[in-house]
Symmetry: C2
Subunit: 322 residues, 2 copies
């Protein structure tokens, strides 16, 4: 094991920038700024469940951190620190070096200090815990959506699902879109700048990790509201171009996970602000529906204008029926 410790130390010790005591002691020491709350999240990535065991380790390093950064972004917080616990089947230096490259590329991209961790031997399992800062009271939770608020989503969710379908041989993507969809799958871009800009504007927010309609249910549940999603407003153009299959495109957009786009509620009288933000960040923001006072009822308005109820687990059925 000592060679493994040495490898981990060599590849995972970088000078921290805003940390009192980092890797090497019983615990790391940090201080959030005055008036700040800490936002804390953990997301475990398991070989065979979340990724193929032979996944490119550099991409995996990026994604392991990026999916956690996304949770912090979804609170409107700024990512600051991370600890990484890793269970590795072997001390494979090339693998560790590539993983570290991807992991620290994501640290650099978002100015995150890696402040500690733990390594052990066993089935491949990566478990980062991430810390963000947000001014006390400014975090955007899942529980603040109000009837009448608009429902927005960033980017073009569903590209990661098409990338995965491509890897599984279930779909043929055009070459240009194949690269785009695989990048969405392997190198998701957490929407940190958007999350920060939505403080004071969004009333509720989360990141889409399991699928748009399924994740939307979490907002409905915690905000005790309902929602209507307008099928005609879904950002399907890119997905349609990529796979040429309208049914698959709708299913990828509404049920596909792993894109880490932000889904948020905002007051209807703030539409201009959201549009300005979209322009400023050069990031498409799509108004895809609105919230209602029918607690936890999720409805889809089809192209025919009729409302279809989507049951709690109904986004799968919806996908099949579309």
């Amino acid at each position: 094991m000592s060679s493994e410790f040495a490898l981990i130390r060599r590849y995972f010790t970088r000078p921290p920038r805003h940390t009192d005591l980092a890797v090497g002691d019983d615990a790391a020491l940090i201080r959030p700024g005055p008036g700040m709350q800490l936002a804390i999240s953990t997301d475990m990535l398991v070989a065979g469940t979340h990724f193929f065991a032979d996944t490119d380790p550099e991409g995996l390093g990026w994604k392991t951190l990026a999916v956690n950064v996304s949770d912090i972004a979804a609170m409107g917080a700024r990512p600051r620190w991370v600890v990484l616990a890793a269970c590795l089947p072997a001390a494979d230096e090339a693998w560790i070096a590539a993983f570290a490259r991807g992991f620290f590329a994501c640290c650099e991209a978002f100015e995150i200090d890696a402040i500690g961790g733990d390594t052990t031997r066993g089935p491949l399992n990566l478990c980062p815990t991430i810390f963000g800062e947000v001014p006390t009271g400014a975090a955007v939770t899942r529980s603040g959506a109000r009837p009448g608020d608009d429902l927005w989503v960033s980017g073009a969710p569903g590209r990661a699902a098409l990338g995965l379908a491509h890897l599984r041989g279930e779909v043929v993507l055009t070459p240009a879109w194949r690269d785009d969809c695989l990048a969405a799958l392997h190198r998701p871009q957490p929407r940190v700048a958007l999350g920060l800009a939505l403080r004071g504007l969004a009333t509720a927010m989360l990141d889409v990790s399991d699928g748009l309609l399924g994740d939307l249910n979490h907002i409905l549940e915690l905000s005790r509201v309902g929602a209507v999603v307008d099928e005609a407003a879904l950002p399907l153009a890119a997905l349609l171009e990529a796979c040429g299959d309208p049914v698959r495109a709708v299913r990828a957009c509404t049920s596909g996970g792993d894109d880490y786009e932000l889904l948020f509620a905002a007051p209807a009288d703030r539409r201009t602000d959201v549009a300005d933000l979209s322009a400023r960040l050069d990031l498409p923001l799509h108004r895809i529906g609105y919230f209602t006072d029918t607690a936890e009822a999720l409805q889809l308005r089809g192209h025919d204008g009729r409302l279809h109820t989507v049951s709690a687990n109904g986004y799968d059925h919806f996908g099949q029926g579309a």
Copy 2:
């Protein structure tokens, strides 16, 4: 998976006491007190590596948290919050209920809020990340030991190693000691009160998780000092009574891990303070050696009074040769 989510929610959602936002959103929100640093540590427990897959889940729940609490104690910090990521092979309600009992028993014992987590399906792996508070500048690190400081250890380290040897059929323990040693192995008692009391008294500290001499090397390395350990001063009485084998007793005490006793340095002119503390906490504290100015040199003074050098990995050799 939804039944698993429901199970986790049922057994792992408890009202927090000092947390702004706990389980259920993208991230938890906490605020350390004014003038406080946060001490953060993560320790992953993997089936087959750290425990037998058929280990009693209630004990495992306790230990999963306790070994992390111990890292916070070893900084002289007060444990406050924990997030738990868990990879489980199946949604076994009886197992989850028992694990949660043990985990929350440890939360209660140390007034810790469980504020979030993640559950996934796969090989059994438990990954808590724990947060403690300590007044800024008051943490006891591994790097402050000075030549001339005394070397102290709490309790009777080695009992957990004897318990493990008993389970493996390598040793026969007397019935009374068998229960004691198995309790040390399965229900370690992190020394939180001791760690807090040693602020301003200990100059360096860590918890013994891998073995006394091996872990002592971490203090020598970070403090750039040497140490002499006096074999005659080691707390061997209980171990000898338990197993009746002097060689095994010495090896368990110096190389056995998993007891989570605290190993610390303190100035020689503070011996009375340490003795008073021992009496106040009703916890034996043993002065087992002293620090020297020979950087990273670890020596053992045998019963014959002669000094033997212990190499970096030498505690194994020592154990065999004693």
